[in-house]
Subunit: 336 residues, 3 copies
């Protein structure tokens, strides 16, 4: 017996992903109903959520199913993630047992687990969500891990197609933004992968020291090239980077090399508050009005100015809406 998980988009073939996006388009048009009757999704949130939880709960319901929200450490038991741990401390249940048990109750399990503490080498393998998939006999969906947010990636791919028609060869700029905290790199890596899959020209604009994980950068480059796109280059000047952009995807993330050392990282980002998408900067993009993307939640007037977010080229609410459509397609693919 084999089961299919959805840990990264790249675990699926391009044909499977294209079929998923095509199904999402039909769902968005209102052409698909039913298919999840008597099906249950268990969602394990080790971190907060608004879009993910609301869109999955809605998705299950709209097709006749039901989603259950679990919050280890709050409404549910705190989870141990180390194999072989002698559990005489604060954690109450091992992820192995939680995964096995939820696999008996639910038909599909979603897991959200942001990285916390430790060093990058110890968290970059996305072990928590992968262990969950290993121990659970039902399909597991990554609802955002250390390295990837594949549902966001699908929604971004759909949004790029909607806004650009044919995204091939168009310029996608991933622009780092200042933020009061060092955030995970799952979304920027996934967003750039979404654009790479569409065969776009990729630019990553970030301050020195804010490189993504080298494996992520290499994968973005490889996929862009395979799809006829290009990994143009990495720039450390937002003004230069935005010239000619068709899409600006704004996102803040923390320095990977300083991962787990927030005080040190905070010093690094001092003086970088100018990394913010303003209306004048948006004017410098292709035609003066590139499509503006962000996964939300967004820090207004810190990452992106109000005038941009509320302007005519902002796609941020569409991106969030598309989470619903792609996840409905994903659930139907996994469970029908």
């Amino acid at each position: 017996m084999t089961k299919r998980d959805f840990i990264t988009v790249e675990d699926w073939t391009p044909e499977q992903v294209d079929a998923l996006l095509a199904l999402a388009v039909r769902i968005k048009r209102g052409e698909v109903s039913g298919g999840l009757e008597r099906k249950v999704m268990a969602m394990v949130f080790m971190d907060p959520s608004l879009r993910t939880r609301t869109s999955f709960e809605t998705a299950m319901f709209l097709h006749g199913g039901h989603a259950i929200v679990l919050e280890p450490g709050k409404s549910s038991w705190s989870l141990e993630t180390e194999a072989g741990a002698v559990m005489d401390g604060a954690t109450v249940e091992h992820i192995k047992d939680a995964a096995r048990v939820l696999g008996r109750y639910a038909d599909v399990v979603g897991v959200r687990s942001f990285p916390r503490g430790g060093d990058w080498a110890s968290v970059r393998d996305d072990r928590i969500v992968r262990d969950f998939a290993r121990f659970c006999e039902k399909p597991v969906i990554n609802m955002e891990s250390t390295r990837r947010h594949p549902c966001q990636q699908l929604a971004d791919a759909l949004t790029l197609r909607e806004r650009l028609g044919d995204p091939r060869g168009k310029r996608f700029v991933l622009m780092w933004a200042w933020h009061p905290k060092a955030l995970p790199t799952a979304v920027p890596a996934s967003a750039a992968l979404a654009a790479a899959h569409q065969g776009m020209e990729i630019v990553i604009a970030r301050p020195e020291g804010y490189e993504l994980d080298p494996d992520d950068t290499a994968l973005i480059r490889k996929i862009a090239q395979e799809r006829g796109g290009e990994f143009v280059h990495i720039m450390n000047d937002p003004d230069e980077a935005l010239v000619g952009a068709d899409v600006v995807y704004v996102k803040s993330w923390g320095a990977v090399k300083q991962f787990g050392r927030p005080e040190e990282e905070a010093l690094m980002r001092q003086g970088l508050r100018d990394w913010r998408l303003t209306a004048p900067r948006l004017k410098s993009t292709r035609g003066g009005g590139a499509t503006v993307m962000h996964c939300l939640p967004v820090r207004r007037n810190v990452e992106i100015d109000d005038a941009v977010l509320d302007g005519p080229t902002s796609a941020v609410v569409d991106e969030a809406e598309n989470r619903l459509h792609v996840q409905r397609a994903l659930l139907l693919e996994l469970l029908r």
Copy 2:
């Protein structure tokens, strides 16, 4: 395109409210089913709830729909409410974006937001729930704001009709009660409005300093007079106020002028513990047994004595039950 919100009862015409209550009566008799198939309600709770959440979740389910519970700052992101804020502090998502996104997932959005801190002038405009309604493209229901609890008001109106038959001209006493905390004024204002709409004689009994917002008092008076009732007067002696009462609605609330200064307000309420509905006091009402109302949760033996709450004229559990029936009617009106 226009959409209908439900922020205050008075935003609707008396005919619309009467139709709503008539539908609630038919629902309570078991005469109405279905109508919310494939409909989703998102409930945003910035404050705790038992009745509101259980009754809305049940209401959606009973008609074929589904309700989702979101708790910003707990399971979900903490919300920024200031327009134009530079969001470099603790809040993670602006209410504008949350409202827009939820409007894409859900068919109706409920918002509960009690006032916290600041001064009264800055919160008395119910800006949070009104902004939510402004930014959300779907109907928004006020699940209790600074100034109003319109779903409670509907339930109280239905309860008054059930208990009194024809409430017109009968005497409704809103009686302040002592409580260890300074509570919001949304419920007392809404309860008095419910009685005013029924054309009752309104008495407000409260200690000096515990006046409601002057606009609320004026609105209660105006509506009572329009409906053939009367705003008798405001009294500061509970014993005097209860004489001849047909209904005693007990509720504690904080002094509006001391809003946001809890220590000062606490000094004011010292010595007011006698403001409590006791069995002897209930005896002094019309026929020795006025209908006793309270929105719940109630502090037993602090606001109302056990003997009264558990006595034959207590309507508090019926009021709570009626929340379900009026909300089923409201959802059907908004979404069918």
Copy 3:
């Protein structure tokens, strides 16, 4: 009018319990559907849960109903449990009112309330869940109280029958295990009662001072004898106790006599870390491989070693799965 609650298994007749288990077997085979359309369960969790909440929410959904999760003190108001309390402290709503109101919205109410503080004499009457049942006009299900976890007991009974075929006369060893905290005795008492009802030979192995409540021990003995089983004896040496065991049910619990004095109890359990089910110990059981049971969550390598939990005779995940099947049967019995 009478209503049926489910506070302890022993409140029902053996015939009723047998019918329930027989229905659970048919449900597990996939032979039963529907029956809870338009029915609502309200679950009141005063303590965390993974299995209970997921299995009840799934159970209601699979038969067409809906379950609502309430968490007093977190998403909902904190509850007062003392009769006649003058509620001028931290608790916001009396259990009497919460029970009455939930009985108006829901068709069945589940309550989880672990004991906290006080002395044993004051909590051993399971007053909270019993008061809930007394005040609520709808059936109340005990989702784990101070003294009993009857849903776990049903699941354990089903698991014993599945694993042993005919459990009569076979040896059931309830083995105390060390744990960093003093846990409630509801599960060990309920597990031993499950075995007693099956007519098994019962052994309780625990260190001196870790006796269950004397009434529980007496009830286990009485039921075992009535069903043709035997209460062999109580031992204070785990190695001796395991010889000849057909089933080892591992569970930690706190010393009842030190209840409410955690520091004192912590001293007692110093030096007892050897009370742990290891692979060599399992070898000493009948045939070298007794069935291993635990209610979960389990502290791995503290209560039971990885090799045992992940070994071929471990039934812990089946026990958890059986929660779903017995609760589906229970809900159908109470609500159909």
